[in-house]
């Protein structure tokens, strides 16, 4: 049997860690993209008015910081904490997308990532939901896998 199958012990735990880190890698990309927007390296397709653009960039920088912090937790702490971080950040993404805050707060969730693809730009709401739920499910299923491995250990 292959070493990374469910229930085969130590190697499987490493695989779960690798999968969780893949989620972390996505967070790094998201965070860096937002910082690049915040630094003005890219316009990020944000609002046109100058005042709102400033608020938007600050908000993008904050979100980017949270995502990079989440990525750091995923990479450097235990897989359990990493999966919890993915669940928390993914859940927040989904909630934000579905709730769509009426307070006028901008949501630069895909900031910096929309240049390359017209499809992502046209369907940004759907892609935000995909991204958020992917992070959430990656964290949740990794958590289940860790529980399962823990149970099957002698």
């Amino acid at each position: 049997m292959s070493g990374n199958a469910v229930g085969s012990g130590h190697l499987s735990c490493k695989t779960v860690r690798a999968v969780v880190r893949l989620g972390g890698l996505v967070l790094v990309v998201l965070g860096l993209a937002k910082w690049s927007v915040a630094a003005g390296l890219s316009d990020g397709f944000g609002p046109e008015s100058e005042a709102r653009l400033v608020v938007w960039r600050i908000w993008a920088a904050l979100q980017g910081a949270v995502e990079l912090a989440g990525a750091a937790a995923v990479w450097f702490l235990s897989p359990r904490i990493g999966s919890a971080a993915l669940v928390a950040l993914g859940g927040a993404f989904v909630l934000w997308t579905v709730w769509d805050p009426p307070t006028g707060l901008p949501c630069p969730c895909l900031a910096g990532l929309m240049h390359g693809s017209g499809h992502v730009r046209e369907h940004s709401w759907e892609w935000r939901l995909v991204l958020g739920s992917w992070l959430f499910l990656m964290g949740f299923l990794s958590h289940l896998a860790l529980n399962r491995l823990h149970e099957s250990e002698p």
Binding site: V16, W125, L137, M138, L141, A145, E151
Partner: protein, 510 residues
């Protein structure tokens, strides 16, 4: 027999039936003319047959008759309306999912079947077809039922069940020949379950049922001509009008909204090939092979043909996702103890951890982002109010309906004809583009038929028939334009009883 597994199969069908009926009532689809792509087409045929059952022999038809005859009979017996063929499709689809559950004998289980159905319903095409009056979903559904009758349940079939399976397969083919793409699945499944000898033992009874059913339905059909049923489709590929470049199957399949079922299906396919396929997976693999062969030869490959891949791939995907969740201990009372059974070779294989996490997470996220939201959007734009028919044109046709016998419409205006309750002469009831592309009809022959049948009213798209100079010349001699709205032109036979009183003739009319 295992009653709990049979009940589970029935539950799968009941769940599908409940969901589709809920959509049916929520969006008031009983009176909607347009849900599936070719709905007006099928409704026109059924409506025609309700009114003129004696004229069937004159109808040119490139599809078998069973769907039209059955629904027309139901409409005459109960009450006419789009709700009968629509409910027929829904019942057929529910029967298909129950049949899959019965065929699988517990694999996939309830979650796998539900997930498979959600993957199908999470696409615009899948949802539309399952709520439509089109031939595709019903024909596929009864072909699956035929396969399940042959290979479902714990006990093998006796001669009666084998004959019944043949009869149902004949009926499926008489709804639409495309149901034949499931036949490789049935053959694989029979060979897997009974071997060559067992299959040969079943063959006489199955062939008896099939032969009796097929010949009986040919006899009951108003017409059955191979040059219409097959040659028109085959020859059409050579005569596709210039400027019309249909997308290839790959272009249609590789759309973002299809990613959930494509990914799940590929994972299920890899899993089935690696570990040995379960009965439902075997059937789905054969179905995919049939669909692939059909995609290689069918031109144009219409947009809704993706249903041929959608259902079997979703069956594979649903089963795979169920296994991943079982391996993670997230599903089923026995999930934790069964987690390592996964393959069908005595528990030799388990799923790799990464696939247990990555595949369901990716499929689930894509389904939430594009499947669920797309489904809701599709549903919100379904209903009696969402019809391509132009209300003013419908109103004008209705005014004329009592005074005319026939009304011919360009292919763009079938919904208007259905809604107004007016019908073309039988020879022109089915005017698929393939009829023109195959050369089985041309505009001079069309003019001849219109003249010989004394068709009083024409509803033409200005870029279709009137764009041809010869047809236009004939048109101006025989008809006068009554009204022109956008691209639509209504023409009245000069010597007919149809009246244009009170309606100004358009300035560019003759």
């Amino acid at each position: 027999m295992n009653p709990s597994r049979d009940l589970r199969a029935l539950a799968a069908g009941a769940l599908v039936l409940t969901v589709l009926l809920a959509c049916f009532w929520w969006r008031d689809l009983g009176t909607a003319i347009y849900v599936g792509y070719d709905d007006p087409w099928e409704l026109l045929k059924i409506g025609f047959f309700v009114r003129h059952p004696e004229l069937g022999a004159r109808v040119w038809n490139d599809q078998p008759w069973l769907h039209t005859l059955l629904n027309a009979w139901l409409c005459r017996s109960i009450a006419p309306g789009a709700w009968i063929p629509r409910l027929f499709t829904i019942a057929s689809v529910a029967a298909m999912w129950a049949a899959v559950g019965w065929m699988g004998r517990g694999v996939p289980g309830a979650l796998g079947l539900t997930t498979g159905f959600l993957l199908v319903a999470g696409t615009d095409t899948g949802l539309r077809l399952m709520l439509s009056t089109m031939l595709e979903p019903a024909s596929m559904a009864w072909a699956v039922v035929a396969a399940a009758l042959l290979c479902g349940g714990v006990a093998g079939p006796g001669p009666f069940r084998a004959a019944l399976s043949g009869l149902v397969m004949a009926a499926a083919l008489h709804i639409k020949f495309t149901a034949a793409i499931t036949v490789p699945g049935m053959v694989f499944l029979v060979l897997r379950r009974y071997g060559w000898r067992g299959a040969l033992r079943l063959l006489p009874a199955w062939m008896t049922g099939f032969g009796a059913g097929f010949v009986g339905l040919v006899w009951a059909s108003p017409s059955f001509r191979w040059d219409w049923l097959l040659a028109s489709h085959w020859e059409a590929r050579h005569g596709i009008e210039s400027g019309f470049e249909p997308p290839t199957p790959l272009e249609i399949l590789l759309q973002v909204e299809n990613l959930p079922w494509l990914l799940a299906g590929l994972a299920g396919l890899a899993w089935a090939l690696r570990t040995g396929a379960s009965p439902v997976e075997t059937f789905a693999l054969g179905w995919l092979a049939g669909a692939s062969a059909f995609a290689c030869v069918a031109r144009p490959w219409w947009y809704y043909y993706q249903y041929h891949f959608l259902v079997p791939a979703s069956l594979l995907g649903g089963g795979f996702l169920e296994r991943t969740l079982a391996c993670l201990g997230a599903w089923g009372p026995g999930a934790r103890t069964e987690a390592r059974f996964a393959g069908s070779h005595g528990g030799r294989f388990s799923l790799p951890v990464w696939s247990c996490i990555l595949v369901p997470a990716t499929v689930g996220a894509l389904w939430l982002g594009f499947g669920l939201t797309g489904t809701l959007r599709t549903l919100m734009f379904m209903g009696p109010g969402f019809t391509p028919a132009q209300p003013l044109v419908v109103q004008m046709l209705r005014e004329q309906a009592p005074r005319i016998r026939w009304c011919y419409g360009s292919v763009e205006y079938l919904a208007e004809l259905v809604q107004a309750g007016v019908y073309p002469p039988p020879e022109l009831l089915v005017m698929s583009p393939k009829r023109l592309w195959s050369g089985q009809l041309n505009l001079s022959r069309l003019a001849h038929i219109l003249e010989s049948t004394g068709t009083e009213l024409l509803l033409l798209h200005r870029r279709r028939e009137p764009a041809d100079p010869n047809f236009a010349e004939w048109l101006h001699r025989r008809y006068r334009m009554w009204e022109s709205m956008g691209d639509a032109q209504i023409w009245i036979l000069q010597s007919s009883g149809a009246s244009d009183a009170g309606v100004p003739v358009h300035s560019d009319g003759s």
